[in-house]
Amino acid sequence: MSVILNEVRPGFYLDSVALMRLSREIAGQPGIAEAALMMGTPANKEIMRDARLLAAPGEAAQGNDLVIGIRADSDAAAREALANALQRLTTSRASVDPGQGWRPRSLRAALKILPDANLALISVPGAYAAAEARKALRRGLHVLIFSDNVPLAEELALKREGRDLGRLVMGPDCGTAILNGVPLAFANRVPRGEIGLIGASGTGLQEVSSLIAESGAGISQAIGVGGRDLSREIGGIATLMAFDALDADPATQRIVLISKPPHPEVAQRIVARVAASAKPVTLCFIGADSLDLPKNARLASTLKQAAELALEGRLIGAGFDIRARTREMRIPAGRSRRIAGLFAGGTLCAEAQVLLLAAGRHVASNAPVPGASDLARAVTDSDRILDLGADEYTRGRPHPMIDPQVRDDALRDALDDPRLGVILLDLVIGYGAHTDPAGHLAAGLARRPDDGPLIVASVTGTEQDPQRRSAQVAALEGAGVLVAPSNAQAAEVALALTGEYV
């Protein structure tokens, strides 16, 4: 018989990443079936209710209260885990900043300590993010909003206000920027150089900037404008401001813009602005068919091609011979040529779909690009290419780039699928990401049978990242994974294994 134990700490706040780490720690204790520490918002309480972690005390909690929910084999185990959780909460608060007794509780107080701050990095829950961003803008700061779930109307109001004030509003929901060589939120260590990047896609920016770095070149700035910036509603406000800034920047010689296909009216506005620039521009609208472009612009169909065009034709991973690398590999007998893609990066997922579709395959996804179908309309032989960072997979859980365990269930299902031919994966490293995603993945692949699906991956990141790209690649190769130099080439390897690489 299981026991559900709740404890509520009124007014106790800890950020979501810290709470998720703590939840995992408590859940891993002996005799504990499940555990979660969450703020008592209605959405979080629903998640805890679904996980059978909520009893009467938790049900009564408010959004400002921390709820500890434990389900255990016995009352003794539950109480011991609760005691541990409370102890860990006390120490996490005390260790928040050793050696500094007082910490500012507001942006205004922080600016008294760092009066020449020029950027606010905001990652509070989405419902509060706009309020914090507005305060920062009005105090003269540029803003990078990492938070997701910021209401669209709030995003529009903030970006308009930022435009009036001459301040960039980066994000929301595109947690990547590299400014003056400094990686912010989810980003990689990339050398300084001549290429300026603008992205409405976090992992798209990470892949292109990392490919540029790995080819020996560098970037001037990488500006993440938010996943909805090129929607009709937002109208590309941040993208156009970022373009103006890079166009005026003497250190930027070439510009790359990465996004899902923009709304047609917004695309026209972007193209008109590009035409007014003297700098060469690469537009990478993943999944877009064609576009009438001015003379200084080129359209890239993949992230890899965008990097190559920005590098003025230098090829990415030129020494990687797909045919030679796959010549000795065969999909085990009895398995189909079907490919399953399990992606942490949304744009990496989109890029893989584009390449599989171009080879004439039937592709289904929870985040379909034009030409792919929704998962509900998948047929037996469809490749299923999943974006595991999408909301339906991350509700109440961290993003798979932060916590690779989020991919474990999907990977286990794919490995157990008796008919699947190839599993295609991405690994995104860098700041903000998990410390060793390849080690985690390798452990999950350790005892798979020899006649399982073939596994192909790429690692987005650089040698200068804390995880070191080469060390991640070596760990994957040690686990029998074929690692390609880019996400696009990983998709091409999958096509070679299914006999469709031309």
Partner: protein, 60 residues
Amino acid sequence: MTREAKPQDLFIDPIRVVNVGLETFAHELESLEVAVIHVDWRPPAGGDPQIADLLSKLGS
């Protein structure tokens, strides 16, 4: 402000960050020797996002 502010101002000066939210971002910036101050943020206005929004508009 003595002149019109522009986004590219950000490319001239070293980046100095006020971090509001996930503390891990502040630690990473510290490891890169970037000037950063972390705000010990809690949900304002008793946890009511609408009142928090209103307060920010009033300059609080």
